[in-house]
Structures are given as C-alpha cells and as structure tokens.
C-alpha cells in the first residue's frame, strides 16, 4: 500500500483505554496511534469492541478509563461546543450507512452542511452537494430517496455526506459488510481516493481482509479487548498465532 501524505504527527492517540458494559469487558487496555495521512485498519471478530472504539473517538460513548486524544484534545473532557467542533473534523461512515430515510439524497447531504456553515447561498449549497456526489460517482441519484438505492450506493452516499464537511479524519465502520465482491472493490477504491483527495487520516473497522490489504497502511488486530498485533499486512499475518491465522485462512480460502 502506498503511503502518501503520511507524517509522524498523531491525529488520534489512544492509551490504556477501558470500556465495559455491565459485566461485559469490551476494551481492556487499548493502545493505538493514528498519524496524519495514515489509514489504519482495525481487524477483529464481531463483538470485540471495534465499533465501540470509534464511537469513543467521536464522543458517542465515553470510556471508563484511559486516554482518547483526537487532534490534540481529550474527547471525554470536551464540552458540547468543543465536542461539536471536533466532530466537524471527523467523518463517520456507519455500518448501515444511517442515511435519513425521510429525506432525498440531496437533503441528506445538505442536512449537515446548512446547519454547520453560515451564510451559504442556494447556489453554493447545490454546488457542494453536486461536487461530493460526483466524487463518489452518484450524481444521478440526487433526487432519489435512500430506499431506492442499493447497499453499495447507500454506503457511498453515507461517505459523501461526511465528505461535505471536509473532514480531517474518517472513521469507517465495516465499509464492505454485506456488499458483493465487486462493490467491495469499488468501496476500497473510494476509501483510497478519499485519502488522496481529501488528505484524511482514517480508521477502517472491518473483518474483510481484502479491504484491509487494499486500504490499510497499517493493520491492528483487536482480540480479547486489546491490540494483539500491529504492523503492515504482511507483518501481522506472518505469524504462528492460531486465531490470527484462522482469520487469514478463512478470508483467503486456504
């Protein structure tokens, strides 16, 4: 994977992060650093707390203990206004796209834009909406409602909706889950394009190893509530650890 625009400047820094839901200890001392311009893939089994991790980063959940520093600020210590300022710099692509189904694609994209940008003319709004839709290759769907779109299209519109605020960080929650292999390839390509065009740093949560290999500069393997191994794709999977091997074997049919 090419490593363009990447510098050593950390945009996300997570140290000793713990999170439990009742008796269920999901994250047990997670450490992760994402540098500027870097795509980090977080791999792990379902229910290991991958989504919990990015929800803590964006302030939807609060950690029990530990540090979660985003763009130099500790997320759990921010007030509402400061949290919203940070959120404007983070794009969050939800697993099920989370498009507003009572609105058209155009209204979905306008929604965050008009509420977070002052003094925008109608022409500016239209231009920006069309620009991001064009960037994800779905300009023709502008007047459709989400229920008329396919899973892959919804995913792309979901990503477009986050791009309209020009984020510095992208968080993708299972971007290829439930999609056919060809659409998965298109989404992988889109993730790489977003990184190049918008100079974003990203965390990509997945258990699709093709997606991980195609999009990740670095892979982090989350098992039993902590990162078991971090490194390039080859470094992580060149191992004797049984669980990591079975992950690889299943995805690449060996």
């Amino acid at each position: 994977m090419e490593q363009t625009n990447q510098t050593e400047e950390p945009v996300i820094e997570i140290r000793d992060l713990y999170k439990s839901f009742g008796d269920l200890h999901v994250l047990q001392g997670v450490n992760l650093q994402v540098d500027k311009g870097e795509n980090v893939v977080v791999l792990g089994r379902s229910g290991t707390g991958k989504s919990v991790l990015i929800k803590i980063i964006v302030g939807l959940l609060r950690q029990d203990s530990g540090m979660c520093n985003v763009l130099g600020r500790e997320v759990s210590e921010l007030n509402e206004k400061e949290l919203n300022d940070i959120r404007l710099k983070i794009g969050f692509s939800f697993q099920n796209s989370a498009l507003y189904d009572s609105m058209t694609v155009r209204e979905n994209l306008e929604f965050p834009l008009v509420r977070n940008t002052k003094n925008l003319s109608r022409a500016d709004i239209n231009e920006q909406v069309e620009f991001v839709l064009d960037a994800v290759g779905l300009l023709q769907t502008i007047n459709q409602v989400p229920s008329e779109l396919s899973g892959g299209q919804r995913k792309r519109i979901g990503i477009a909706r986050t791009l309209i605020l020009k984020p510095e960080i992208m968080l993708y929650d299972e971007p290829t889950a439930g999609l056919d292999p060809i659409t998965c390839l298109e989404i992988n390509q889109l993730i790489n394009e977003v990184k190049e065009k918008y100079h974003t740093s990203s965390i990509i949560i997945t258990h699709d190893l093709t997606c991980a290999r195609e999009t990740g500069d670095r892979i982090a393997m989350l098992l039993d509530g902590k990162f078991l191994k971090q490194g390039t794709f080859e470094e992580v999977f060149n191992t004797d650890e049984e669980r990591i091997k079975s992950f690889y074997d299943y995805n690449f049919i060996q």
């Binding site: 939807l60 919203n84 959120r87 989370a98 009572s102 509420r115």
Partner: protein, 262 residues
C-alpha cells in the same frame, strides 16, 4: 422461586420503574432547555404540524361526528322521560365541549400520532440515524424531539376544536332529523350553557394532551433499545403510557376547573 430470588426480581423491577420515571423527568427538563436554546428548526416544525394534522384529520372528523350523533341519540330517551328534549342541544354541547371532544381527539391522536412518533424515532435510533446526526454536529434532540413535541402541542388543540365542530354538527343532524330544530336555534341553544371557562379548560386539556402525546412518543422512540423489537415496543408503549397519562391529566384538570367554577 426462592424468597431471595423473588426479592431480587422485585427490587430489579422497582429499580427499573423508578429509573424510567427519573429518565422521563430528565427528558422532560431537557425539552425545555433545548426548546429555548439556539435556532428553531422552523421548517421541520411546520412539516411536523402538517403531518400530524393531516394524518389525523379524517379519523378525528369521523370519530367526532359519530360521537356527537350517537351521544345525542343515546341521551334523548332520558331527557324525554322528564319532557326535557328541548334541553338536548345544550346537554350535548356541554358534554362535547367540556369532555368528549378533547378526550376523543387525544385518544385518537395518541394512537395515530404517538405511535408513529415512537416508531419513527425508534427506527431512527435503531438504524443509527440519530447517532449520525450527533456525529455531524447537529443536535438531534432539537431537530427531532423539540419540533415533534411542539408540533403536537400546537396541532392537537386545533384538532380538538375541529372535533368539537364536527361532533356538534353530528348532534345537530340527529336533532334536526328528529325534532326538526333549525340550525340557528340549535346552536343558540347549544352555546347558551357554554362559558369561557369551558372553552378555556378544554383548550388547556388539549394543550396538555398534545404535549403528553408528543413527549411520551419522543421519549420512547429516542430511547428505543436496539433491534426491530425495540421499535415495536417504543410505538406500543408510546400509546399505552400517553393514554394512561391523559386520563390522569383529565382528572386533575377537571378538578382544578371545578374549583374555579364555584
């Protein structure tokens, strides 16, 4: 079940019931805090008012009409026993304005509006649309809850007046068909006994019911648990809880208004 287990189950039940009351109270306070803060989502408010009004107009009209007509028909024999059929318009008007119109409107709206708000917000919660709003730095409470609660608080009193008019029309039709009373003399008779306090109390009731339906529906939907079951549960409890609260409010408001009546 052993005593120890029973105690655990009952304590857990009591805990969750008290917690629900507390969370409802916090939600209620948050509504007032958010309603007066920042820019109002006026377009969404108008859209919701239209949706609520439009959704219930036909059903409330039909129910109100039948209520007025049937109530008149059922009251006639009792009055006839005392030779007081000429009092029928004022009796019916008092019943409709003081009690029936507000209750019928509220109960129909609780079923129609409350359940749809509960289901809509519940499915938005379950499909992470509410989280999506939050992460795009838009306040979902302000956009979804404040607008819907205000819309139902504004629209349900209007629907109540509409229900009153249609129910009186139903009563008039029944009276004119049986006694041949003219339109003017029916309404003169009907309004003779209606005071400002009656109309004011009805309006207060409708505002309270509208607010209750909106806030209960929103609370249930906004806090729906994961899964499709959560959506159904939210819609269902929105109706059941708001109907229960409506009857409690009815008793309280009637008691208070009777105090002023004397």
């Amino acid at each position: 079940m052993s005593d120890n287990q029973k105690e655990k189950v009952y304590t857990k039940g009591l805990d969750s019931a008290l917690l629900a009351v507390y969370n409802g109270y916090v939600f209620f306070l948050r509504f007032f805090r958010e309603a007066f803060r920042g820019r109002m989502e006026l377009q969404e408010l108008i859209k919701q008012c239209y949706a609520i009004g439009n959704k219930s107009l036909l059903l409330i009209g039909l129910t109100g009409f039948i209520t007025g007509m049937v109530f008149t028909k059922q009251s006639r024999p009792s009055l006839a026993e005392f030779g007081a059929v000429s009092w029928l318009p004022s009796l019916v008007a008092i019943a409709i304005v003081r009690a029936l119109a507000a209750l019928v409107t509220a109960l129909i709206s609780a079923g129609k509006v409350g359940s749809s708000i509960g289901a809509e917000l519940g499915s938005m919660r379950v499909t992470e649309q509410i989280d999506a709003m939050e992460v795009s730095a838009v306040n979902p409470f302000k956009f979804l809850v404040v607008t819907r609660v205000l819309a139902s608080t504004i629209t349900i009193p209007i629907l109540m007046f509409y229900c009153t008019a249609v129910a009186l029309l139903g009563a008039y039709l029944n009276v004119t068909l049986n006694e041949g009373t003219s339109f003017i003399s029916f309404f003169e008779n009907a309004f003779e006994q209606i005071t400002f306090l009656d109309v004011g109390t009805s309006l207060a009731k409708a505002v309270a019911y509208g607010f209750t339906i909106g806030i209960v529906g929103c609370y249930q939907g906004y806090n729906a648990s994961k899964g499709t079951e959560g959506v159904g549960k939210a819609a269902n409890s929105a109706v059941v809880i708001s109907m229960f609260l409506i009857f409690i409010e009815e008793v309280i408001i009637v008691q208070v208004s009777n105090y002023f009546r004397i």
